[in-house]
């Protein structure tokens, strides 16, 4: 797919994360070495930016090549990706909300006027003992994102193949789907007490409930995706001499991809909801834990800091999935 460098970087990174996951089995990860954390977040950041700026196009002979856009200078590509009318509109929307937030108190808008105004929240964030200067805040980001990432990735790795298998084989589904359906309505958080009791570490129990949050949605969406693949396409493929293997990999899988992406996006939203609650109960760290701690300490501006952080984190994760989805499905790009 990408250049070999990126491939090796991602392999290394996976190994690193696997190592940390093993550490997590024993204890909650801590920022023992700054370089370690930097490595964990710099690599995905670079990979993401690369994906963001990349547009796959084709040479006249049909071979995939890196696009003309790629040969343009980096600064220009960044400007093109960031400074466009859509981004501008988005920024305007955010600014409008911030203005309303700030003016809510002086204007006496009902209910919202009780939220500490933007200026107070910002002042609290950057105050001498504000979260901005505290290691536990930045560590909290890392820990929370790591939990989300592990749980979500696990859900994808298990959920997508399972959904595909159930979608393709009625026998398989008949045997195991009822069990799944009994577990599905149980809220992930209801699993938390059991998870804390069963799992060797609190860390793993949090990752487990996050996994559950995304898993069910991904499986259900994948199954439905398989069912929605146009039967006439499968017939056409059969007529052209395709075997079951070809039908699966070349017709059913790409046909299911849009549903998988939808499932992943919805699932990602659920993981953030689950994360915060899980951290409030089982965690000693993370953004959710900090928010809860601020509340019990009566520090409402800091609660808002925590909330905004979660919002930003969730939005980044969703944006990444959309973008990756778009790159995986070039035929869905609108022209």
């Amino acid at each position: 797919m990408g250049p070999t460098g990126a491939k090796w970087a991602s392999i290394l990174w996976t190994l690193l994360c696997a190592g940390i996951a093993i550490m997590a089995v024993r204890e909650t990860p801590r920022p023992q070495s700054l370089a370690l954390w930097a490595a964990i977040w710099i690599v995905p950041a670079v990979v993401l930016v690369t994906i963001w700026l990349r547009r796959r196009e084709r040479a006249p002979d049909g071979a995939r090549v890196r696009a003309v856009a790629r040969r343009q200078p980096l600064g220009r590509r960044v400007r093109k990706a960031v400074l466009n009318v859509h981004t501008l509109r988005g920024v305007l929307g955010i600014v409008a909300v911030l203005v309303i937030w700030q003016l809510a108190q002086p204007l006496g808008l009902p209910i919202i006027k009780r939220i500490p105004p933007l200026s107070d929240v910002v002042a609290r964030f950057f105050a001498d003992n504000g979260l901005f200067w505290r290691a536990k805040y930045w560590n909290g980001w890392t820990v929370s994102l790591f939990r989300i990432f592990s749980g979500f990735l696990l859900a994808l790795i298990i959920g997508v193949p399972q959904g595909l298998a159930w979608g393709v084989s009625r026998t398989l589904k008949a045997g195991s789907f009822p069990v799944f359906e009994i577990f599905r309505p149980i809220p992930p958080l209801a699993f938390l007490p059991a998870a804390i009791y069963l799992m060797p570490t609190a860390e793993l129990s949090i990752v487990f409930v996050i996994f559950l949050g995304a898993y069910f949605t991904i499986v259900i969406n994948t199954i439905n995706g398989v069912y929605n693949v146009d039967k006439s396409l499968q017939r056409a493929a059969l007529s052209l001499g395709a075997r079951r293997n070809d039908i699966f990999w070349k017709i059913i899988f790409p046909g299911t991809l849009p549903s998988i992406i939808t499932g992943a996006t919805v699932g990602m939203g659920i993981t953030w909801m689950v994360l915060v609650a899980a951290e409030m109960i089982a965690g000693r760290s993370g953004i959710g834990f900090l928010t809860w701690e601020s509340y019990t300490g009566g520090d409402i501006p800091q609660v808002v800091v925590g909330m905004v952080s979660m919002g930003i984190g969730g939005a980044i994760c969703s944006a990444v999935i959309w973008r990756l989805g778009g790159n995986l499905m070039p035929w869905r790009r609108l022209f």
Binding site: A236, A237, L238
Partner: protein, 285 residues
């Protein structure tokens, strides 16, 4: 092309074919005792009202469905399932949306083990022949309706099928594109002489294209009448104004009308369609 190769393959024979859907207590007989022979290298047009079971008939010949009575024999071999010797061009476009036109066309050869390079060269040649040069790397959603149809034709042709089954392939195209596509198909057929079973509900199209018309009855479907079309080949749009064309059309209409009246008396929706489709035309033409 100068040489006309008469292939000695692609003979379809339907012997007393029947197809029933549903359980014993709620049966729908769609096809009943349909028998006909399509000789190799002929273009036969199946014509009948919408909903009369034409698509079912095509599915049976394609091997997607198994007949509940009788048998379908192709070149002496009984049909037991779909295969690349009989290619189907569908009513709705069945191009794979996640593949470019080129990838769509090479799909068949690739899954049957041809090398990618060879398949790509052949596909490029065919795409050029159907007038899609320069559109090799476009996705189906970027092509117009007529282009999608031609891409589908190329996807079928690359497999050098013995038989092409075309299920109202030009439905939904605008009148102009449709006429062009008809002429285009005729040229292709006259060059390659692949056996074609072409389904339509348009009488003009049927007579213009076919060597023979297989006129179907209303449901349960069987072949009501076989009408040979003795218009000379190669044909172009000028045959539409000849006396022989009008005569053939009149003959076909009589049969269809008779069938329509019969079905109408039974209050079937198909009969209404039949009158709608053919009554209107006979008045106009």
């Amino acid at each position: 092309m100068a040489t006309t190769v008469l292939k000695r393959e692609g003979r379809i024979e339907c012997r007393g074919v029947g197809k029933t859907f549903g359980e014993e207590w709620a049966r729908t007989v769609v096809v009943q005792d349909a028998s006909f022979v399509v000789e190799e290298g002929q273009l036969n047009v199946v014509i009948g009202p919408s909903g009369c079971g034409k698509t079912t008939l095509i599915s049976l010949v394609a091997g997607y469905e198994r007949p509940t009575a009788g048998e379908i024999v192709i070149d002496g071999q009984r049909v037991t399932g779909p295969g690349p010797d009989r290619l189907v061009v569908f009513q709705e476009t069945a191009l794979f949306p996640w593949m470019t036109s080129l990838e769509n066309v090479i799909f068949g050869p690739i899954v049957r083990g041809m090398s990618a390079r060879e398949a790509r060269d052949e596909a490029r040649r065919l795409l050029e022949r159907v007038g899609l040069k320069g559109f090799e790397d476009k996705y189906p959603s970027q092509l117009s309706g007529g282009m999608q149809r031609r891409c589908e034709l190329a996807r079928a042709l690359i497999n050098q099928p013995k038989i092409m089954l075309m299920d109202e392939p030009f439905r939904g195209l605008d009148a102009m594109t449709r006429e062009l596509m008809q002429e285009y198909l005729l040229r292709l057929f006259e060059e390659t002489r692949t056996t074609i079973l072409f389904v339509t509900s348009e009488l003009e199209e049927a007579i213009f294209l076919g060597d023979r018309l297989l006129i179907l009855s209303a449901r349960p479907t069987s072949v009501k009448r076989v009408l040979p079309v003795d218009l000379p080949r190669p044909r172009d749009f000028r045959v539409l104004t000849t006396a022989r064309y009008a005569e053939l059309k009149q003959q076909a209409l009589e049969t269809l009308y008779e069938e329509a009246v019969k079905a109408f008396a039974e209050g079937s929706q198909a009969a209404y369609d039949l009158v709608e489709a053919f009554g209107r035309r006979s008045g106009g033409a």
